[in-house]
């Protein structure tokens, strides 16, 4: 039994040490963004998270630009495609609000209605900006 107790004791110490070493993202959690969920998704792998953030930093603006262009050209199909892609990306980052706005834009595109998309377009840009900030803060943890 002593051995068993020692095992349990040792295990608890490991877990406690792990928790103490894990980054805390509680302060970033909001209705918009769930950092814990993202952290779980990358299997608590900061390296992978940073790689993802880098890719998004590069690809996010391109996706937004594509949505802008679709709206300016009145191309519903292109709006649907670009919004769908943006939605998929932000879903992976657990950015609920941004994903919801992208989904609305995608739905508009699918419905063939580009007119009146500008407010959503602006809202999406704002959400992406906020997401980028949050992601940068996450990436800055435990450097």
């Amino acid at each position: 039994m002593d051995t068993e107790k020692q095992k349990i004791s040792g295990m608890n110490q490991e877990i406690i040490a792990g928790i103490l070493q894990s980054p805390k993202f509680d302060y970033l959690k909001s209705e918009r963004f769930d950092p814990e969920s993202l952290w779980d998704r990358v299997d608590s792998d900061m390296g992978l998270l940073r790689e993802l953030i880098e890719v998004f930093a590069e690809e996010g603006p391109k996706m937004l630009a594509r949505i802008d262009e679709a709206i300016s050209h009145g191309s519903a199909l292109e709006l649907e495609k670009a919004s769908h892609k943006m939605k998929g990306s932000v879903l992976q980052f657990s950015a609920r609000k941004a994903a919801a706005v992208a989904a609305e834009l995608e739905e508009k595109g699918r419905a063939g209605i580009v007119a009146g998309a500008e407010p959503l377009q602006a809202q999406l840009k704002q959400e992406i900006n906020l997401l980028q900030n949050s992601l940068n803060l996450m990436a800055a943890e435990v450097r």
Binding site: D43, E51, V55
Partner: protein
């Protein structure tokens, strides 16, 4: 492949236990145009446990299809919405190109209906982006692969079962508890004689004799069964079916396999009949052989009596004894013919010529009320047979037809070529000449037909029951076959089939030469027969004809007589089967010591028996018992004269 990325790595998985076999060298094709998604997925796949995972990433459908032409990944992770394709068409194209790979659809849409439809269309799983982590992704991949393997095994199994079902020569039927056919294959429909669509939805009992249900039983009680039943087809034909069934192969669904054994039954019946006839033939032949020896003695002594009778009354009595023995010998000849033990003088014959030759006899045989017609094909092939036997066959069949038409009718004799392509019990494939004798008489029931060739079976008050059995025996002996078709009150047709002898010239057929009737001579003859009465009578007769006769009771004694005789022995007349030394041994000795001596064998058996005893002899040097001394005398004279010409 500008956008293709390949990465392979070893990694440890501490939380997800994966079988090494399942994950070893796992090939993954990721089809994803979103760089973030692609980075996340490859990142998740390339971290972790012990297995090798090779992941190739492409961003467009065209690239994916190109890749699938060269690689056979275990799993395809597929985003349906790509730059060059969107929605289900993406899935169908990939599914078509990667028939053996599991497909795991990745979607940004958390749509349950869409997910179900995707899986129903053939995807092994559906994952919503943002809802899975590394563990879930790996588990999904593993399950998708397993599911695909199971589905593939099931598909192959179903394809195998379907192929067996559709190509089986046996009928296969799935039916429910009420007996209603739910599924049936083409063979089952053909067996029942209806289109498959008609059989499905019907009951087998609809096509069977009454009492079928009793035979089939209740599947809820009898789990397995085997038996036979009769199908009654719409066209009136009946088919004997051998079946086996297994109840509840699926709940409430029962399997029956049906095999048409009608022909097999017919062939078995023919074989049984043939074996019975064979046995009866052997018995009849054996009896006839013994009887012939006795007849020979009676006939021989009667001939001697006739020759030495002091007055006309005694000569007449002797004549009547001879006449009676000839009639008795005729009966035994028929028995021997049935038993296929009659001596044959085989020649190439044209059946049409044979019929022409005995046409006048057939005419005499018929009453005035019978109309006779003969139809003979042109350029008929030749057959190898004994002419007198064939004449007997025709006469017997004609006699039978006449007796079947007491009130008159039509007798038709047809001779034609016949090609047998089907392997019947006694008629192998090949070319035949068929001689059919048809009458419009009383016909026969099936029962009578089945016994009609049995010796002594007759439906006539005065019939011997040997006429048709003789036909049967002669045909068997000649390598031919005889069939009967008959309908009560309508008539009968007997057909005999004889194989055509290929490569023969029909013009070469000649008439049979007549026998010499001269019997006297003065040569020395060694006569060997263990039947003392017959030996003595024959000896007395031959001496009366002027011959010098040496006699012996068996082969050994004959050797001694031959060796001790100083003069010439022109002819050895010997029975074949004798005690002490057989005919073969005797002949070998005589041929060695007296090469100029002729040989005439006599036996109650056939020339087959001669060859079976290892004796090589011209068939003309054989005489079958019983024979009159006059025939014996003529035969002796013929052999001796021929030898004289030869020397």
């Amino acid at each position: 492949m500008p956008n293709a990325q390949s990465c392979g790595v070893d990694f440890k998985m501490s939380t997800l236990v994966m079988d090494a076999r399942q994950t070893a060298l796992l090939q993954v094709l990721l089809v994803e145009d979103n760089p973030v998604d692609a980075k996340l997925i490859t990142g998740l796949l390339l971290r972790g446990p012990s297995a090798m995972l090779k992941c190739r990433h492409v961003t467009q459908l065209a690239e994916a299809l190109h890749q699938l032409e060269h690689d056979a990944p275990d799993v395809v992770l597929l985003d349906l919405n790509l730059e060059d394709s969107a929605g289900y068409p993406t899935f169908y194209r990939v599914q078509q190109a990667a028939a053996k790979a599991a497909i795991l659809v990745l979607s940004g849409s958390d749509d349950e209906e869409l997910a179900i439809r995707t899986v129903r269309e053939g995807a092994q799983d559906y994952l919503v982006k943002g809802s899975f982590d590394g563990r879930l992704l790996l588990r999904s991949i593993r399950y998708a692969i397993e599911r695909k393997r199971s589905q593939e095994a099931l598909r192959q199994s179903q394809a195998t079962v379907r192929a067996i079902f559709e190509n089986s020569l046996d009928g296969i039927v799935i039916f429910e508890g009420t007996g209603l056919c739910m599924e049936a294959n083409v063979a089952a429909a053909a067996l029942v004689g209806v289109p498959r669509e008609e059989l499905i939805g019907s009951r087998l009992s609809d096509f069977c004799d009454k009492g079928f249900e009793d035979v089939w039983g209740d599947p809820s009680v009898n789990q397995n069964g085997r038996g036979q039943f009769w199908l009654q087809l719409k066209n009136g034909a009946r088919r004997m079916v051998d079946y086996c069934f297994r109840a509840n192969i699926l709940p409430g669904q029962h399997l029956a396999v049906l095999r048409d054994i009608t022909e097999q039954q017919d062939l078995e019946e023919q074989l049984r009949q043939s074996q019975k006839m064979e046995a009866v033939g052997r018995l009849a032949g054996g009896v006839a052989h013994d009887f012939n020896n006795i007849l020979g003695i009676i006939s021989g002594h009667a001939e001697l009596l006739q020759l030495s009778a002091p007055n006309a009354v005694d000569r007449t009595r002797a004549e009547r004894i001879i006449s009676a023995t000839e009639k008795a010998a005729s009966l035994t000849r028929q028995l021997l013919a049935f038993g296929r033990k009659q001596v044959m003088s085989l020649k190439l014959l044209n059946l049409s010529t044979i019929v022409d030759g005995i046409r006048s006899m057939v005419d005499c045989l018929m009453s005035a009320e019978v109309q006779i017609s003969v139809h003979a094909g042109k350029n008929l092939g030749l057959v190898r047979a004994d002419q007198s036997q064939l004449e007997q066959v025709i006469m017997n069949l004609a006699t039978n037809a006449r007796q079947a038409m007491p009130e008159g009718g039509n007798l038709t004799i047809t001779i034609e070529e016949f090609h047998s392509s089907k392997d019947l019990a006694d008629l192998p494939p090949g070319e035949y000449v068929r001689l059919s004798v048809s009458d419009t008489g009383v016909g026969m029931t099936e029962e009578v037909q089945s016994r009609v060739f049995e010796p002594f079976f007759t439906t006539k008050k005065m019939g011997s029951g040997l006429g048709l059995s003789t036909v049967y025996g002669i045909m068997k002996q000649s390598g031919g076959y005889v069939t009967v078709q008959s309908t009560p009150e309508q008539g009968s047709t007997f057909s005999v089939f004889l194989p055509v002898v290929s490569g023969t010239d029909t013009s070469a057929v000649s008439a049979e030469p007549r026998h010499s009737t001269r019997v006297a001579g003065n040569e020395t003859i060694l006569l060997v027969d263990n039947e003392e009465d017959l030996r003595n009578a024959a000896s007395e007769y031959l001496q009366g004809c002027g011959y010098k006769v040496l006699v012996a009771g068996d082969g050994k004694e004959a050797v001694e007589v031959s060796d001790q005789h100083q003069g010439t022995i022109s002819l050895l007349i010997s029975d074949i089967m004798m005690p002490k030394l057989s005919g073969r041994g005797l002949i070998e000795h005589v041929r060695k010591t007296r090469p100029g001596t002729g040989v005439l064998l006599i036996s109650g058996y056939t020339d087959d028996a001669v060859s079976n005893h290892g004796i090589s002899l011209d068939p003309s040097c054989f005489l079958q018992k019983p024979f009159t001394f006059q025939i014996l005398g003529a035969k002796i004279r013929g052999i001796l004269d021929e030898a004289a010409i030869g020397s």
